[in-house]
């Protein structure tokens, strides 16, 4: 039974960018419908009670990149956005540890314990990177111009960016060039000497990326992660009370406040195209909804190759989307724990459990993990970024119990022999064994474990190949080339069909930025 009802706009996918776009359009008085395939909104920013009493940020697990103007304009704090700062980053080592905390004096002392020179440089590094973050910001906030057949607004956007670049100092420009092109290891080697510090810092250059810290290109990913902006403070990461799903819920409540309709378990099969225009969507259950415009929050592969028929698209565009690189490289292991893990290097409770725990003792550790994946296996001793949300937010687990979120690299989507149940368990074992090297009690306190391989991320969350950024953050897939040239301004070759996911400029992370900019572009042309 198809209901006949016409919306101004339909958004495919209730991930945080789809919801953001919907909220902005609703705020502008448009009648909007969001259609989500799963039973829960949030996409990859979702909280679920995976085991009774244990709640997990199943997929994306920290928030830092959320744009402050989005939070303000959508009144997100009023609708439940509450970020709890992560207090530290701790790198456990075999006989020692490295910890950096929000207290810069303490961080200085801790780093100086390993290297005085690094401690000094660390104090200069943060501000330098912050400056570069600021320098890149206007570029991230510009709708990417079309270089093929530029319009007046494309030319003025280009001119604005060039003027901005000219305003940079030679040193800023030098750093920026290096960050755009180098490996995170080479970049950090110019600053630091203590290996665990360098390795841990370089790790933000590999997250979500099929590269090692010594791969050129990883410095840009590191910069991307340095643009974190909580309440205007650069390079600060936070945990959302109630899990990252609560970010999505805050945006959803804002959208609701602006009159947006949202449906879950409403899986869109196809965008209906008539005479080269999108006119609505057809659901898998046969329902059809009409609208003036359709916006996809899905990744570019799904947005174009699944939601549309290739024949409706120009062939060079189809080629470009097929060539869009979206290799998944990471998995997620969520653990329900009976007690807190006890780290040999720092026994008992403390700051170190209230922040991120990074399994990154050396570049070699990360590179070897990458090598495993490069040749088609999951890492035997992976890199991990671990947090214990229940320490910061006791509601995440039953009293006295805990949840532990392990972001794991590398796990290739194209694994030798393909993913199966056995391999998934083996992958989980590799993760537990690696943690046990630093916190031997882990094996005794696990009540349940949820293991998500890239194949699971694809089938559960619709992330093609399990890529958490909807497409790799390589130079040739940024800005005017994300996801394809001519169509990097949220429009598509199909009239009235738009895109607003992380596969568009400025890319992945819980930023709200693609959703916001897409909505602004749409409203600007409406």
């Amino acid at each position: 039974m198809s209901k006949i009802k016409k919306y101004d706009a339909i958004v495919i996918g209730g991930g945080h960018n789809g919801l953001t776009a919907a909220a902005y359009l609703g705020r502008a008085g448009k009648k909007v419908l969001v259609l989500e395939r799963r039973h829960v909104l949030g996409g990859a920013a979702v909280t679920e009670e995976v085991f009774p009493g244990f709640k997990f940020s199943v997929c994306s697990y920290v928030v830092s990149l959320m744009k402050s103007n989005v939070m303000r304009e959508l009144m997100l704090p009023k609708f439940g956005l509450e970020l709890l700062p992560l207090e530290s980053t701790m790198t456990p080592l075999d006989n020692d540890y490295l910890i950096r905390t929000a207290d810069s004096d303490q961080t200085y002392r801790e780093i100086a314990r390993h290297s005085k020179k690094d401690a000094e440089n660390y104090m200069r590094f943060g501000p330098a990177m912050g400056q570069i973050g600021m320098a890149v910001r206007p570029i991230l906030e510009t709708i990417a111009p079309n270089p093929i057949r530029p319009s007046l607004s494309d030319i003025s956007a280009t001119k604005k960016i060039l003027d901005h670049v000219k305003s940079l100092t030679s040193k800023q420009f030098e750093y920026l060039t290096k960050l755009m092109t180098m490996s995170s290891a080479d970049f950090l080697d110019e600053w630091f000497e203590y290996e665990p510090l360098k390795a841990t810092m370089s790790a933000s250059g590999i997250i979500g990326t099929f590269m090692g810290p010594r791969s050129p290109g990883s410095a840009y990913v590191m910069l991307h992660h340095y643009m974190g902006d909580i309440d205007g403070a650069y390079r600060s990461w936070g945990f959302q009370r109630g899990g990252t799903g609560a970010v999505s819920m805050a945006i959803a409540r804002a959208a609701e406040h602006f009159g947006v309709d949202m449906m879950t378990e409403a899986s869109v099969e196809k965008v209906i195209v008539k005479n080269g225009r999108a006119v609505g969507v057809a659901l898998e259950n046969g329902d059809e909804y009409n609208s003036n415009i359709v916006i996809s929050g899905l990744d570019p592969k799904l947005t174009f190759l699944k939601m549309l028929d290739e024949v409706d698209l120009p062939s060079d565009f189809v080629t470009a989307i097929k060539n869009f690189r979206i290799r998944g490289s990471s998995g997620k292991v969520n653990l329900a724990l009976d007690a807190l893990p006890n780290f040999t290097c720092l026994p008992g409770d403390g700051h170190h459990l209230r922040g991120a725990i990074s399994i990154s003792p050396s570049y070699d550790h990360l590179e070897k993990a990458y090598d495993d994946a490069k040749y088609g296996d999951f890492s035997e001793a992976p890199f991990m970024d671990i947090i214990l949300p229940s320490v910061l937010d006791p509601d995440m687990a039953p009293p006295g119990k805990h949840v532990m979120s392990c972001f794991v690299q590398y796990a290739p989507y194209d694994i030798n022999g393909g993913w199966n149940d056995q391999k998934r368990e083996d992958f989980g074992d590799a993760v537990i064994n690696t943690i046990a090297r630093y916190a031997p009690n882990i094996k005794d306190i696990i009540l349940h474990r949820q293991i998500l391989t890239p194949a699971d991320l694809e089938s559960t969350f619709g992330l093609t190949e399990g890529n958490i950024f909807h497409g790799e953050l390589t130079l040739q897939q940024l800005f005017s080339l994300r996801p394809a040239v001519k169509w990097a301004d949220y429009t598509t070759p199909i009239k009235n069909y738009f895109q607003c996911g992380s596969g568009t400029h400025p890319g992945g992370g819980i930023t709200g930025s693609p959703g916001e900019m897409a909505a602004k572009k749409i409203l600007g042309t409406w």
Partner: protein
């Protein structure tokens, strides 16, 4: 003692090119070379009694056409020979792909492996040639002083309008896509046959410390195809050996009054408040000149010859951050017979061979650099120069010269020694025996040049053949550093003309040509 207008340090290709141009422009020029002959990276040597080799480069990918024209090199004894087959990529089970001068024949060779790929070959090679066309024009420029670009700099870059109007902004977009790519990303868009894919990828890792999975290998691949006339794996041999290119430049320079002195090692570039004013030789002799041009790499030029105390700290930091990281070794074998390679006739052997069965093979070889050891199964490229130059080996005998990646300068838990060289030889011989079954039995002599040897004997910092890695962070306005990318340096009257400047390494003379232009501006 006569005063010179210009002293040039180093008689490599770029030093000689600069000298020849300045001489022709009437500058009283002196070239000082520390070795006992000119040539630098183009040198030949007798590595065993009766056996000669091109020390580093058996082929030349391209020579700057402006240089050829300005110096009229064709009439000055430079004879280039382009073989019918430019490269033969050897795979496993004696399969191979031959890259011909004539693309139609390359298509036939590829078709034996993949029909689909053969149909795409011509499109691919013209695509690469289109993108290289942009680099050709960019290479003629003195890099702009970014980010402070004024109208003057923009006007100077007007030569870029040629390729832009020819290929459109679409061409620029394609360039921006391919330059930062890693090799698998590029070949995934075109080809399915692994031998072909890795034969292409091998071009992207040429003389690099990175493997094919490194972003930016797209740029290195395009660099190899500048002025390639649409021919993929373009290469030329210099008649009589690569050194003859240097000798032709030397003759040019001398015929316009340039003095070239060998066995003269410069130990310092002398400076005063106004900048530099001359050099001191190892003998203690001081020579004065209005301008000094260094063909050495930035580290040797500034750290060793100018001296850190004469450099400002920011510039020093930039210099220290230049990555050299040599990872290529050369091995020359004197052979009692012509090697036999299955399916390849003697005539076809006047070419470059490469052994790279798969991209993963190349990548695994490159992993050695990360962990600081020799590649067990290295990437090997080889040439039989004695087939082209009969005087390279006694009658009936031959020379095989191999370029080996990866043999890193920076090693862990070991250092370059005779033992390690033996291990390198074993690894290379094992690799060669896969394609030349009786190879071991025909070896008479071996000469190994490790990155450390390159540093000690040829003054290449860390044994880097390009005077600095050919990566995007060391490209154009960043080469060698952001404050010295216009051939001029922060030291008044001191200029750079070596491969450490834009547009980087290779025996093409472009750096020298561009540098001469800046020197003449004064």
């Amino acid at each position: 003692m006569s005063n010179y207008d210009v002293i040039i340090i180093g008689a490599g290709i770029n030093g000689l090119a600069t000298a020849a141009i300045l001489g022709k422009a009437g500058k009283h020029t002196l070239v000082l070379e520390s070795r006992n002959k000119v040539g630098g990276m183009a040198s030949s040597m007798e590595f065993a009694p009766g056996y000669k080799c091109n020390v580093f480069n058996d082929t030349i990918k391209w020579i700057d056409p402006r240089l050829v024209k300005f110096l009229d090199l064709r009439t000055k004894g430079l004879e280039l020979e382009q073989p019918e087959i430019l490269r033969i990529a050897l795979g496993e089970n004696s399969e191979h792909i031959a890259f011909h001068k004539d693309a139609t024949k390359t298509v036939d060779s590829i078709a034996r492996h993949s029909k689909n790929d053969s149909e795409r070959w011509k499109d691919f090679s013209s695509y690469i040639s289109k993108l290289a066309h942009f680099l050709e024009k960019a290479y003629e420029l003195t890099p702009p002083n970014l980010p402070n670009v004024g109208i003057k700099e923009i006007l100077r870059m007007r030569s870029m309008l040629g390729p832009i109007s020819k290929h459109g902004t679409r061409g620029i977009v394609d360039l921006l896509r391919v330059v930062p790519m890693m090799m698998p990303e590029l070949v995934d868009e075109w080809f399915e046959n692994e031998l072909l894919r890795s034969a292409i990828a091998s071009s992207g890792i040429h003389h690099l410390s990175f493997g094919p999975y490194a972003a930016g290998t797209g740029y290195n691949l395009l660099h190899q195809h500048v002025h390639g006339n649409g021919i993929f794996h373009n290469a030329q041999f210099v008649k009589g050996g690569t050194e003859n290119f240097a000798i032709a430049l030397k003759d040019c320079a001398e015929s316009s009054g340039v003095e070239i002195k060998t066995s003269k090692r410069v130990i310092s570039i002398n400076t005063d408040q106004k900048g530099c004013n001359g050099v001191t030789l190892e003998s203690g002799e001081q020579i004065i000149a209005k301008q000094i041009v260094s063909g050495l790499d930035p580290n040797n030029t500034f750290m060793n010859l100018v001296g850190p105390s004469n450099l400002n700290p920011d510039f020093q930091t930039q210099l220290n951050n230049i990555r050299y990281r040599g990872s290529t070794a050369r091995i020359h074998f004197a052979l009692s017979n012509l090697p036999e390679i299955q399916g390849i006739s003697k005539d076809e052997m006047k070419t470059v061979f490469s052994i790279s069965p798969s991209i993963k093979y190349l990548e695994r070889a490159s992993d050695a650099v990360k962990y600081g050891h020799l590649a067990d199964k290295p990437y090997v490229e080889f040439v039989l120069p004695s087939l082209l130059n009969s005087d390279f080996a006694p009658n009936g005998e031959h020379v095989l010269s191999a370029t080996v990646q990866y043999a890193p300068y920076h090693l862990r838990n070991t250092e370059w020694s005779d033992n390690l060289k033996d291990q390198l030889r074993t690894n290379v011989v094992n690799t060669l025996e896969k394609v030349i079954p009786n190879f071991r039995s025909i070896i008479k002599h071996t000469s190994i040049i490790s990155p450390l040897d390159m540093e000690r004997q040829f003054g290449l910092t860390e044994g880097n053949l390009n005077h600095g890695e050919m990566t995007l962070d060391q490209f154009m306005f960043m080469r060698p550093t952001i404050s010295s990318s216009q051939y001029k340096t922060p030291i008044n009257n001191l200029y750079l003309c070596g491969a450490g400047t834009h547009p980087g390494g290779g025996l093409h003379g472009t750096n020298g040509f561009n540098a001469a232009r800046e020197v003449l501006k004064g």
